[in-house]
Symmetry: C2
């Protein structure tokens, strides 16, 4: 044994915190939401992770395949912008997906420098399988919650996205059934 993690000085110690917890004003950090978001996301991606193992793929592959499936004909630059990673990072993962025949690249019709990405039949199948698996969790969840919950959740998640990307994301959402809501602009 050596450095910092050791059994030596250590005051006897009680279970009491070093930091007291106050009654909590309204501007307090929202620890509950922070933790819930962490746990929820951890378990959400965990579903897919297990399935991906059968293909020797990781989360990075999943993300690429997902967006290629959802936005067929996506160019590299657009994909990089979505994933917010560098092209070098993308390259390894994309190459594996291409080699394994889950994605294919075609020369851009108007701009021949571009390499447009499409899922193959095999890739589409896996993308669907993954999405179905993750959707099962959503379906269970919304089955347990009141019917408005789904719409509220979409609103919540969308609002969580940074403004610059929000509209791009909204554009890929399914059209929304105009519903009676809380909005004041109903009168307009």
């Amino acid at each position: 044994m050596k450095a910092s993690i050791e059994r030596k000085p250590l005051r006897p110690a009680s279970t009491q915190a070093l930091v007291g917890r106050e009654p909590a004003p309204e501007s307090e950090p929202m620890f509950d939401l922070i933790e819930l978001f962490f746990f929820a996301y951890r378990d959400f991606v965990g579903d897919a992770d297990r399935l991906l193992e059968n293909y020797q793929f990781g989360r990075a592959h999943h993300r690429v395949l997902h967006f290629v499936y959802r936005r067929p004909g996506l160019a590299i630059a657009a994909l990089l912008d979505i994933l917010k990673i560098t092209k070098q990072s993308l390259n390894r993962v994309l190459k594996q997906l291409l080699d394994a025949g889950f994605v294919e690249a075609r020369e851009g019709a108007t701009d021949r420098r571009q390499r447009l990405l499409f899922p193959t039949a095999k890739g589409a199948r896996l993308a669907q399988e993954l999405a179905t698996l993750q959707s099962e969790r959503f379906r269970r969840v919304f089955g347990e919650l009141p019917p408005e919950a789904r719409e509220t959740t979409v609103d919540f998640l969308l609002a969580m996205v940074n403004a610059p990307d929000r509209e791009k994301v909204r554009a890929h959402l399914p059209p929304r059934r105009r519903r009676r809501q809380h909005t004041e602009d109903d009168a307009a």
Copy 2:
């Protein structure tokens, strides 16, 4: 240029998808939610990431510090169970937090094998700063949504957590104000 990513065979290609999109039955994958969850979480953790850079810490440090702050007196095994990582993975990160004086370990009072973790004053400050930053995003979001949205969101996120952990997580939530809701059991 070499392997898979090349400019050679490639049929001319149109922008059209290989995979058709059907009118969508009710059992369709919920792509909208899947993507929204991804984007929302990506931007949510991005806030903290930027702050962490000033300390030469990463997300892993953030998670450890957060849970040590929230559950002062946490034992190693309990922390591992929360994070779902191995002790070897935790070790490097925890050692750095101990060495840098953000967390301290004390010998367990009843079981002296245990090493109970506490935030130092400095660690508590950083944990609060990070939580405050992330809470600002939540506060903006719920400011834009109807008042019930927060409660619905908590319900949604909690339901997303795997059942085995759900109760443990709920136990750390602030007590909930009994509110008039949609529930049918009101009559009871």
